[in-house]
Amino acid sequence: MGEVIVVTSGKGGVGKTTTTANLGVGLAALGHKVTLIDADIGLRNLDVLLGLENRIVYDLTDVTGGRCRLKQALIKDKHCEGLHLLPASQTKDKTAVSSEEMKKLCQDVAQEFEYVIVDCPAGIEQGFRNAIAGADKAIVVTTPEVAAVRDADRIIGLLEAAELRNPKLVINRFRYKMVQQKDMMSIEDIIDILAVDLLGVVPEDEQVVVSTNKGEPVVQDERSRSGQAFRNIVQRIKGEAVPLMNLNQNGMLSKLRRIIGLK
């Protein structure tokens, strides 16, 4: 029986889908059998991030509605052996699936795969409740902004109310330089406020845009910093203790600045 992990955030645009895609590819690259479920019904995007948008025949609502078998709806990833996608429906809305159906679906998928990662829609309505219904663990993604952290706090409260205890936090789009200049909340600030465990910190990286354009998640880019951050998160999901990567981009220069007291 595999592990079902939901990736959620509350606020839109903080990187839930990007995180889901990268964790999926990262885990599969290490030889694990993984399925990604896009639970954002009506606004599917995970297929595009993985470059699988042209291969969709059936979707999640076809499986829950009994119009096809699970195996028929699962799409094999192009590059990554062992990675599968269960796409969301683009034409239906969030009421097309119930929480019970989602729970059953997650259980069925977890029978066959080691990791099932559910990409949750933004918001706290039915779509959110569906996405978390079958999850064993939760990852909360946020960015170092007031609105995103506030929504993350709300989500953490709702997850705990739904018996999903100890969600793990991913801080995305982190800008080391701005934190040094005290113009962005630090990792410690955010952890202090949300009082959750940190799973990883992903630096702001233009390479994410490039990889999204191509439909090839950045985690496979050996040279990119965000890719390294996602690879570290993958290791931590597997239970390995990996220290936080050095987020300081221009090492010598900032050291020098600190020495002369400029922060």
């Binding site: 007031v146 952290v149 409260g157 200049q181 005290k182 962005m184 909340m185 600030d189 406020i193």
Partner: protein, 95 residues
């Protein structure tokens, strides 16, 4: 270079991250307590009603807020008084 100079000469009292953190802290006090603006408004009007029995207060100047310091949340009310009311003897000295 300009950045260097402004940083050197300006003595900013609080950085934008500190402002963000403080705002977040306050907003989360409300979120976590589940205190809606309506509830706060209702509390305010009842406070006015009770206090008005004893003194004349400046209603538009009345401020009621939840505030946090460290791990404690406090209800802070700032109630400007215009004038004391002349109270009947028995209220002042008790029954």
């Amino acid at each position: 270079m300009l950045e260097f100079l402004t940083r050197l000469f300006s003595r900013e009292s609080s950085s934008s991250k500190d402002i963000a953190k403080e705002r977040l802290r306050l907003v989360l006090v409300h979120d976590r307590a589940g205190v809606s603006p309506q509830l706060l408004q209702a509390l305010k009007s009842e406070l006015i009603k009770v206090i008005s029995n004893y003194m004349e207060i400046d209603e538009p100047g009345l401020e009621v807020n939840l505030e946090s310091n460290d791990n404690q949340v406090a209800l802070i009310a700032n109630i400007p008084i215009k004038q004391m009311k002349r109270l009947p003897e028995n209220i002042i000295s008790g029954p």
